[in-house]
Symmetry: C2
DNA sequence: TTCTATAAAATTGTCAACAAAATGTTCTGA
DNA sequence: TCAGAACATTTTGTTGACAATTTTATAGAA
């Protein structure tokens, strides 16, 4: 039988359950509610999400493929603790990929997509003047993902989502958390350069922005522990994230 | 207990078995020995690789995350048949990422790494004058992966390996297989631009190169069937691939 | 107390049996 | 001959039990 393109494959309910776990952990990492090194027990997760162990297993396997979770044979799954090498690689990849993205956005005509970025910056400003630091942190990361979304390319969006989330882990482990992650108006400048249609400038500003984040990192990993139990970390109001 | 960085986690034997399957399928796709749409039965693969079904399952799951295999609920696993959208996204991602790579290679000093590219080009020339088409196809794709390797970034290498392999699927499905995939000396030109330290030129040449491949694609998918059985496709002499 | 050895408990890894779904075949009737 | 229903076979999905390993708890000796 040849497959018709229009044929519909329903996604089994199991896949949705897996995605729920994956998303919850992604969000918790992304918003720094969970520390690198946190043990993710299979039975524990199974109870929290009311799913079978096998399902948890697949979710953890997927997360390990994305570099969010480390799997250690016979020991279990842990929120990834990025090494120095990981940090270097993630930032270099971001430099290369995001530079390419802003260049293309600046070179070609994506005006319609840029409006979303404009309104996003307004939100960032609001959070800044409200001194809502967690929100600002979240929005700051999101800016980069929205940049990718402007290319209308789900592959790039997913790649950047992974990179930004891994950056969150790196900052949690190696960042001072003060200088880092608090751009004044650098996003604004980058977007302006794109709107002006100046790829070189946009790239330059973006690279400086990333370098600034990178400079805020130290070489000695912080040790930190979660302040909440897994249950509270993973299941929570997601209405604004 | 806190984890010492030097601590060694042995990889369970199972992971190696999984990787064997993943690599075999990657190679088969990459070298176009297997057609898009080919059914990958769990029991069949289990018998070929002498592993349990569970393990086959995980390997297929991993491949589906990488876009090489499509998983259809209750139907099974099939070599991915990239859609028009997939094709667009893969090529756009390659443009963005590879442009970033060659720019960085041209801008910074990676001379030591470039020697490998030089010797790779010699191999390509050899294959070209020998009219060894399968080998030339393989080497042509590899050139792009070696470009990524020159950045010394395993993340980028893996990303590019996925993109190049997916390109192989796209060409298998939409390509004319004649003009496509047969660069004369475009790789040579790109490398020269890098060696000259000219990022703009390197990027321009690379983009033209990718566009040329893209132009060789038609809109109507070819239907093709494998000429060999799965066993022969997957298990074979890998001494020169 | 502190360290080590031993036993108990808990957690992860694996497998086989079973259930559910899809595929293939046979049979019937027009 | 063809269509379609009924049945049988194959393949995928899921669960639960068990084995292997690690972690925790316990006890004893220096």
């Amino acid at each position: 039988m040849t497959l018709k393109k229009t044929e519909i494959y329903r996604t089994s309910a199991g896949v949705d359950q897996e995605n729920e776990i994956v998303e919850a952990i992604f969000n918790a990492v992304y918003n720094q509610r969970i520390s690198p090194g946190t043990k993710l027990g299979e039975t524990a997760l199974g109870e929290i999400f009311k799913v079978s162990r096998e399902r948890v297993r697949r979710a953890l396997f997927l997360l390990s493929n994305k570099g969010i979770v480390d799997l250690h044979s016979n020991k279990g799954a842990f929120i990834s603790s990025p090494s120095e090498k990981d940090s270097r690689e993630v930032f270099q990849a971001r430099e290369i990929i995001e530079a390419g993205i802003v260049r293309q956005l600046a070179a070609k005509n994506f005006e319609s997509k840029l409006e979303i970025l404009r309104s996003h910056l307004k939100e960032e400003d609001q959070a800044r003047s409200d001194w809502d630091r967690p929100k600002l942190v979240r929005l700051s990361g999101e800016f980069h993902i929205i940049l990718a979304e402007a290319t209308n390319n789900s592959l790039l969006v997913e790649t950047l989502r992974e990179l930004v989330t891994r950056t969150s882990l790196i900052v949690a482990l190696l960042g001072d958390n003060i200088s880092t992650w608090c751009p004044d108006h650098e996003h604004e400048l980058i977007l302006s350069a794109i709107e002006k249609g100046d790829p070189d400038l946009a790239e330059k500003l973006l690279l400086e922005h990333l370098k600034k984040i990178r400079r805020g990192l130290s070489l000695t990993p912080k040790v930190s522990r979660n302040s909440l139990a897994l249950q509270e970390i993973l299941i929570q109001d997601t209405s604004n994230e």
